[in-house]
Each structure stands twice: as structure tokens, then as C-alpha cells.
Symmetry: C2
Subunit: 305 residues, 2 copies
DNA sequence: TAGTGCTTTTCATTTGTACAAAATGCATTA
DNA sequence: TAATGCATTTTGTACAAATGAAAAGCACTA
């Protein structure tokens, strides 16, 4: 994550915004009830930052009415956060929006495969620094690379049946192999996070509408399943595939039907069950089947809609 | 590859230096004999750049006596490049050296796991821009990441047994799976290139000294073997591993003994034989064995020498 | 017709300064 | 004892002018 600030003019920094989100997440996950006191140093320790940005984030949350100053000193939870809509309370970073816009335009072909920084500056009306930052983020995610000399090139998009087939084949190889790895070991904590996230999707029909939430949960599942192998290269490979698919899906305003999401969700949970029961052969069979269905669903459809 | 220039003061740019190397490689690979004419526009097309940096690279090669101006116009090969030692002729990019130095110091623990840009600037006596560039390169290769707030963190096991094990495991998975791919198909032309390159190594003892030549042949073999699968993601994964290994080995000043290179060479040829005979199971067994030996050779040694 | 040599234009890096934000330290308080 | 509020130091970002390098164009030539 890049916390450089695109908006030096107004308000809290990107880091503070992000911390505010994560603080809400934490209040929710830890199940802190209204009136519970929150401690800045503790949060700073948890998130690995100093108190400064935490203070900024807390101020923001006070301003938004999520937290409340106590009579004497300190802050406490002011309202039930479980029903809170994050995006309504906290503004989106403009640089994040720009990133998504570029991703979409590139996937749709509106943005050429080869671009120069100078060409993007006027196009999106931002400074070179920001253009550079965006491109470097694409590069970090394996979605673009610098060309020798001038310019940048986006990686080939996953258009066409052929690319889909290759992607599926690669994922099947990497993810299934991860399960067969000798050092494979389930991290109970992460497994719990995966399970809770999936159950929240299943229980809350609203979260199934915008594919966004589902995509995050989906990516989290596959990435961490590979992560149990303890092999960073396997994890990186899965993450890269996730990034590619994210670009692809942002192209077509394609939205998975709710029942498809629900099915995938259950498949994930079945795989997780098998993995936690140490029945890795069964897990692999399920995973292979799961990926195959994703291929049929994704590769079969027309990419131009 | 990042071609930004660390040395604005003197001489040819990093890109020009790199092109000069690749031009020599190409003269060698294409087997251009002394007196053959070289064309700037053609080289520009091949390497995907404009004529400007090619011109700079050619000037450099003229200066070093590799090329020679013809009587009328144009350039031609002035000497036999097969016996040429690249590193003697062309200076290394200082930024490249710095990268290796940092890698080495980090592996030895001389550099702490968490660092700040401001701390590295005086330490290596370079500007902030270069420090940033280096750190971002580490990040791009998965060797470091930005911390929220201030600073960067190197991954836990940057170099050492653990990293070697994971790398081996990953390569075994990816390369062996490539052989099992349904669309696997040998490109006769490329197979011929691989064979010839290996035979040249075996026949010419000099090419076994500086590991440089061997590394190229080695990388070419593995990358194209995976390439026969027709799956771009498998090929990319192998290429990525090659790049990582190149950096780590050069950082450790590691040089394979001639007999080890010779053995690897023969193993490669045996694998190639099996593949061309369509005996993929045997090829896979050989490949797995080959990789395992590479692991024992690379991972078993002390990293501090 | 393709290559060379040169010029012009475009593009990207460098550098230095001003500024914003995070880290750190300390006195104070519950 | 640990959290808070505030001040100081450190770290990193934003911006703009200057510089250098690559791309693109053009006339000339073999």
C-alpha cells in the first residue's frame, strides 16, 4: 500500500484514512460494545505505526460520531459499528479512484497498452508525481512494466479464451501444488478470518451485490490458501493472478449473479473444512473442481459485454 | 530493468551500456564473423528502442575496438567476440553494484531489517532518488516492502537456506508441471538453439570460467523448456526465478566450478533428449533430479564467503 | 530501398527548496 | 502504571526549473 498523499490541501492523510477504516474493522471484529474505551498506544502497536497517525484517525472518527470523548480523558465507542457503511463515512482517496479508473479504461482498451507519463498527465489532469506513483503501483502488482527508453507497457490482458485457459491451468498447478507442499501448515488465525469473511457474505445478501466485497474475499481465500504452504513464491504467483483477474473483471461491467457467489462461497468453505481436517487430497480435488467451474464461468462467456 | 541514470556526469547512459552488452551477445549468438556489417535500425527494432541509444552503444563499442568504421559509411565487426570478456570491456553500472552491495550486506546482517531512506542516503553516499529506486527494485522483486508510515522492511529470509528451499520447491513445481501440460510441444528451432549453446559451452573451456555465459545458457534452457508448454504464465514464472537467482548469485560472488557447469550441461542435454523423444515422464524425472542437485549445491554452501 | 548523420521535439530524471506528516520524547494526569 | 497532550525531531512528499537522454523527423547517400 502506498500512503503518499495526493491531496496535500485538505484533511487527513491517506494513512490516517486507512487507519480509521482498520480501527473500525477492529472494533467490529473484536466485538467492542458501545462505551468501551479505546487506547491509542495499543492501536499504534497493533498497526505498527506511531501514535501520530493514530491520533489523526481517532480525531476523524470522533468527528464522524463513531467515537466520543469521555468526560475526563480518552475516547470510547459511541455507536454500534456493525451496521456502519464504511464508504459513506470515510471519503475515498482520489488517487484510489484514479487507479480504478485507469484499470477499467485499460481493460476496456480505452487506454493503449503502451503509454508515456507525459501522455497520462493531461489525460487525467494530475501531476507527474502522481502518474508515476500510479504506474509504479501497476508495476508492483505485475500489471505494467517500464520499457527501455521511454514509456510503460501494460501486460497483456486476459482477453480471449486462450488466455483464460492458460490462467486457469497456471492457477490449478500452483494452488494445487501448494496443498501438496511438505511444509503446508494451516494458520488457525487466518483460517478463522477466512471463515468469518465467507460466513458474512453468506449471511448478508447485500454484500453479494457489488462484486467488490466478494472479489476481496475470494482473493483473500486463494492467496492465503497458497500462503499455508509457507512458500512465498507460490503466494506471490497466486497474488499476481488475482491482480490480473481484478483488472479483467473491472473491464466488463460484469457482475456475478448472487447464486454463483453463494456457490463459490460454499465451495471455499468446503475446501477450508477439508484443509483444516488435514484431508489435503480431498481439498485438492475440491479445489481443482472449483477452479474448473470458474474457468467455465469466466472463459465461456463473451468478453465484450 | 530500470534505466534511470545514476551517473549524469560521465559517459554513456545505463541503457546504452546495457544495449552494448546485448549487441555483443547478439553478435555472438548470431555468429557474425569479423567484417560483417551491423545495422543500427535493425538493432533498434530488435531491442525495441529508437536509434538514439543504439547509436550511443555502437559508439562505445567502436571506442572499445569491438566494432570498426567502414571506409565509406557504417560499422562492421572488428574482432572475434567469442573470446571477449564482457566485464573487462564494459564498466558496470554503479547502481547495479550498489544493489548487489545492499543485498550482500543485508544477507550478512550488516544492514538492519528495517531501514529508512534518510538513513541509507549517507550510508551509501547517494541521493534520495537513487535510494528510492533501489528500494523499489527490492520491493518489485518481493525482497522488501514499504512500511505504513515511515521506512522499509526487508523480508525475513532474504538470502540463505530458507529462500533457496522455497525457490527450488517453486521451480520444481512450475517446471515439472510445464512438462505435463496437455499442449506441450517442442519447438524444433528453439531446441536446436539450446543444443548448440550447450555444445559450445562443453567444447570451449574458456566459456566455463566467468559464470556469466553459463548463466545465460542455463536461463535460456529453463525458460524455453517451460515455454514449450505454450503457457505464458509458466514461462513468466520461470523467467522471474531466473532473474532472482542471477541477482542473488552475483551478490554472493558465487562462482560455479567448471566441472559443476559441465555436469549441469550434460544434464540439460539429457533432459532435452528425453523431451525430443517425447518421453516426458523420463524428462520430468531427470529435471527433478537436476533441480535437486542445484539446490544442494546452492543451498548447502555457506553464504558468507 | 534501407542506412546514415544530423536536427528538432518530446520525454524523463535530477536537484533543491518548501512543506506536510510521522516518529519520538517528556511532562502531566487519571 | 499507562495513557494523554504537547513540543521537537526526523522522515518523506510536492513542486518547479534545469538538465540530459531518447524518440521522431528529414535530407542525403550508397
Amino acid at each position: 500500500m502506498d500512503y503518499s498523499d495526493a491531496d496535500p490541501s485538505d484533511g487527513p492523510s491517506t494513512l490516517q484514512l486507512d487507519l480509521a477504516r482498520r480501527i473500525i474493522d477492529r472494533i467490529r471484529d473484536a466485538g467492542l460494545s458501545v462505551g468501551t474505551r479505546v487506547s491509542a498506544p495499543e492501536l499504534a502497536r497493533i498497526f505498527g505505526v506511531s501514535r501520530s497517525p493514530i491520533t489523526g484517525a481517532l480525531d476523524l472518527l470522533v468527528e464522524k460520531g463513531v467515537l466520543q470523548p469521555m468526560e475526563t480523558r480518552g475516547l470510547r465507542v459511541a455507536r454500534d459499528v456493525s451496521t456502519l457503511n464504511l464508504s459513506e463515512i470515510l471519503p475515498n482517496s482520489p488517487i484510489e479512484d484514479l487507479y480504478r479508473q485507469m484499470l477499467r479504461e485499460r481493460a476496456q482498451g480505452a487506454l493503449p497498452q503502451d503509454v508515456s507519463e507525459a501522455e497520462l498527465m493531461p489525460r487525467y489532469g494530475v501531476s507527474r508525481g502522481i502518474v508515476r506513483k500510479l504506474l509504479m503501483r501497476f508495476a508492483a502488482e505485475g500489471l505494467a512494466q517500464r520499457l527501455p527508453g521511454h514509456g510503460w507497457r501494460f501486460v497483456d490482458t486476459l482477453v480471449g479464451e486462450e488466455a483464460y485457459r492458460e490462467s486457469y491451468e497456471f492457477r490449478a498447478i500452483v494452488e494445487c501444488s501448494a496443498l501438496r507442499t511438505p511444509h503446508f501448515k494451516v494458520d488457525k488465525d487466518i483460517a478463522g478470518q477466512i471463515r468469518r469473511a465467507h460466513e458474512r457474505i453468506l449471511s448478508d445478501p447485500a454484500s453479494r451485490s457489488g462484486s467488490d466485497e466478494w472479489f476481496r474475499v475470494n482473493a483473500f481465500f486463494h492467496e492465503n490458501l497458497a500462503g499455508f504452504s509457507g512458500n512465498r513464491f507460490l503466494t506471490d504467483a497466486v497474488r499476481h493472478q488475482n491482480n490480473l483477474r481484478r483488472m479483467q473483471e473491472s473491464a466488463a461491467f460484469f457482475e456475478l449473479p448472487a447464486e454463483r457467489i453463494e456457490q463459490s462461497c460454499r465451495e471455499h468453505l468446503a475446501i477450508l473444512d477439508a484443509v483444516e481436517n488435514a484431508d489435503l487430497e480431498w481439498a485438492e480435488a475440491l479445489l481443482r473442481q472449483h477452479l474448473k467451474q470458474a474457468l467455465e464461468y469466466g472463459g465461456g462467456r463473451d468478453d465484450n459485454d
